[in-house]
C-alpha cells in the first residue's frame, strides 16, 4: 500500500485570459464543455480529506474562469482542506475576493510576469499587470496568506533585484521565485527562456541575499533551474508519493505534465474513488517506488532522494519515460542538456519586448509561441 497523498492539485479549468509563454498546461487542452461539474469536485474534496490530504491547490488555467469557484472553495473548506487559490487575478473584483474569503479561502498565490509593465504584458500576451497590482491592495484587506509568484527566465533575469524590490513593495507573506520549467508551452519557447550560466549564477546570489535581508518579513521560496543542476529535482516528491492532480475533465494524474507520456491511461473521478485512483490505478503505479528504475538510477545512492528525477522530462527529452532524467549529470543522455545549455550560452542576444496592443498583434509580432485557449 502506498502511503496517503498530502495534497490535491485541482486543475479546475484550462480556460485562461493570459497566454503566458511558459505555461505548464498541456498543448492539448480540455474544452469548457468537457469540464467536470461542481458536484464532482465537491465529492472529490470530501474524498481527498478522508484520504488524509491537507491542502487543495486550486489552479488552471485560470480558476476564476469557473463561475462556481466560491462554491468549490466553500466545499473544500467544509471538508477541512486548506484552500490555496493559484491565480492570475484576472476576473477577480474586490467583491468577488470578499466572497471567496468568506467561503473559507486560506491562501492566494498571485502570479507576476515582471516588475515592468511592458515586458509583463508581453510575456502574458494580455494587459494584466496593472490590475494585478491593484488586486494586491484588496488582498491585504483580508486575513489570508498572500504569496506573490514570479517566474524568472532569460528575458527578465537581468533585472532580478528590481523585480524582488517590486514584489517586496506589494507586501506579500511569501515570495516564490521560480525558474521556468520546460513543459507544455515553456518547452516550445525554451530557446528564448533558458538563462545563461552568468544570469543563473547571479540569480542564485541575488536570491540568497534577498532571503537573508527579508528574513522574518517575507519568506522566499526558490524553484531551481534543473538544467544547470548536477542532479535532477525530486519531481513531485516522487511519482505517486505525495501529490495527486485532477485535471479539468476529472482524470487523475501523478503530475501536471504526465499526459505527454505515451501509453499511460488516466482513470477518472467520474468512475472511481480517489482512494482507488491513488492505490490501484495503473498511472499512479507505473513509476511508483524503484522497480521501474534503469541504471544508473537503480544502484544510485541518491535514488531515494530524487527518485531518478522527472518522468515527463525524461520522455520529452529522450523519448523514454523510464530513462534517467537527463538533467542528472550521471544520465547517459545528459548530453541533450549540455547541448541546450551550449546554445543558451553561445551569445545570442536577449529579445526586445514587443509593445502590447492586442493579443493578435503581439502574437503576430513576437517570436513566442503563446499559449492559446481551448476552443
Amino acid at each position: 500500500m502506498a502511503s496517503n497523498p498530502l495534497a490535491l492539485i485541482a486543475e479546475i479549468t484550462h480556460r485562461c485570459p493570459l497566454h503566458c509563454v511558459y505555461c505548464s498546461n498541456p498543448l492539448q487542452m480540455t474544452q469548457a464543455q468537457a469540464e467536470i461539474a461542481t458536484e464532482d469536485w465537491l465529492r472529490v474534496f470530501g474524498e481527498a480529506a478522508k484520504l488524509g490530504m491537507l491542502h487543495v491547490h486550486l489552479t488552471g488555467g485560470e480558476p476564476l474562469a469557473r463561475q462556481d469557484l466560491t462554491q468549490l472553495i466553500a466545499g473544500a473548506h467544509l471538508a477541512r482542506l486548506y484552500t490555496n487559490l493559484i491565480t492570475s487575478g484576472l476576473g477577480l473584483t474586490r467583491e468577488r475576493l470578499r466572497e471567496l474569503v468568506g467561503a473559507g479561502l486560506d491562501h492566494i498565490q498571485l502570479s507576476f510576469q515582471d516588475s515592468r509593465e511592458a515586458p509583463a504584458n508581453w510575456i502574458a500576451g494580455a494587459r494584466a499587470h496593472a490590475h494585478k497590482i491593484e488586486l494586491t491592495r484588496w488582498i491585504r484587506e483580508h486575513r489570508i496568506a498572500f504569496t506573490a509568484n514570479l517566474v524568472v527566465h532569460r528575458q527578465n533575469l537581468d533585472h532580478l533585484e528590481e523585480m524582488i524590490s517590486f514584489i517586496e513593495s506589494l507586501a506579500p507573506d511569501r515570495m516564490e521565485i521560480a525558474h521556468a520549467q520546460y513543459y507544455g508551452w515553456a518547452l516550445e519557447n525554451r530557446a528564448a527562456l533558458i538563462p545563461t550560466r552568468e544570469q543563473l549564477d547571479r540569480a542564485v546570489a541575488v536570491v540568497a541575499a534577498a532571503g537573508e535581508r527579508l528574513k522574518g518579513k517575507i519568506r522566499i521560496d526558490a524553484v531551481v533551474a534543473d538544467y544547470y543542476a548536477r542532479y535532477p529535482k525530486a519531481c513531485m516528491g516522487g511519482w505517486g508519493q505525495r501529490l495527486m492532480l485532477i485535471d479539468p475533465k476529472g482524470r487523475a494524474l501523478p503530475c501536471h505534465a504526465a499526459g505527454v507520456i505515451p501509453g499511460l491511461e488516466f482513470d477518472s473521478v467520474r468512475e472511481h474513488s480517489l482512494e482507488w485512483l491513488w492505490q490501484e490505478s495503473a498511472a499512479f503505479q507505473k513509476f511508483r517506488g524503484e522497480a521501474w528504475m534503469p541504471e544508473p538510477c537503480r544502484s544510485c545512492d541518491r535514488r531515494a532522494e530524487d527518485f531518478g528525477g522527472c518522468r515527463c522530462q525524461a520522455f520529452l527529452l529522450t523519448g523514454d519515460a523510464a530513462a534517467t532524467d537527463p538533467a542528472c549529470s550521471l544520465s547517459p543522455q545528459h548530453y541533450v542538456m549540455e547541448e541546450a545549455l551550449r546554445v543558451a550560452n553561445s551569445g545570442q542576444p536577449v529579445s526586445q519586448p514587443v509593445a502590447f496592443e492586442s493579443f493578435a498583434q503581439v502574437q503576430r509580432e513576437s517570436e513566442w509561441k503563446y499559449r492559446v485557449n481551448p476552443e
Binding site: 498530502l6 491537507l54 491542502h55 477541512r80 486548506y82 490555496n84 486560506d106 491562501h107 498565490q109 486575513r143 489570508i144 496568506a145 498572500f146 504569496t147 507573506d173 511569501r174 528574513k215 522574518g216 518579513k217 517575507i218 519568506r219 521560496d221
Partner: protein, 96 residues
C-alpha cells in the same frame, strides 16, 4: 530576526491555522497548516504554540508554561520558548 520581546504578542501568522479545533484533539500530535505545507507539533512545542492566541504577551505565556512544567533551571523555559518561536517566525508561521 530576533527572538520575541517580553511585551510582544505571538500569534499564528496570517494564513496559518490548526488543522483541527482543539476540542477534537487528544494530547498527542497536532498539525498546523500553512500555505505550502504543514508541521506537526507535540509535547512542549505544541503547548507553546497553543498559548500563542494573539491576546497574551510572550512574558505571560512563559509564566503560564513555567507553572505547567516544573523545570529546575531558572529561565530555561523562556529561552527554549523564545528559540522555538523564532524558528517559526523565520518560516512565517508565527508573528509577534
Amino acid at each position: 530576526m530576533s527572538v520575541p520581546a517580553d511585551q510582544s504578542v505571538p500569534t499564528l501568522a496570517t494564513g496559518c491555522r490548526w488543522a483541527t479545533p482543539e476540542a477534537d484533539d487528544d494530547q498527542g500530535e497536532r498539525t498546523v497548516l500553512f500555505p505550502e505545507g504543514a508541521i506537526k507539533v507535540q509535547g512542549p512545542g505544541r503547548r507553546i504554540l497553543e498559548e500563542c492566541d494573539g491576546k497574551r504577551t510572550f512574558l505571560e505565556i512563559v509564566s503560564t508554561l513555567e507553572r505547567q512544567y516544573n523545570v529546575a533551571e531558572a529561565g530555561r523555559i523562556r529561552v527554549d520558548a523564545a528559540n522555538f518561536l523564532e524558528q517559526l517566525h523565520d518560516k512565517r508561521i508565527v508573528d509577534y
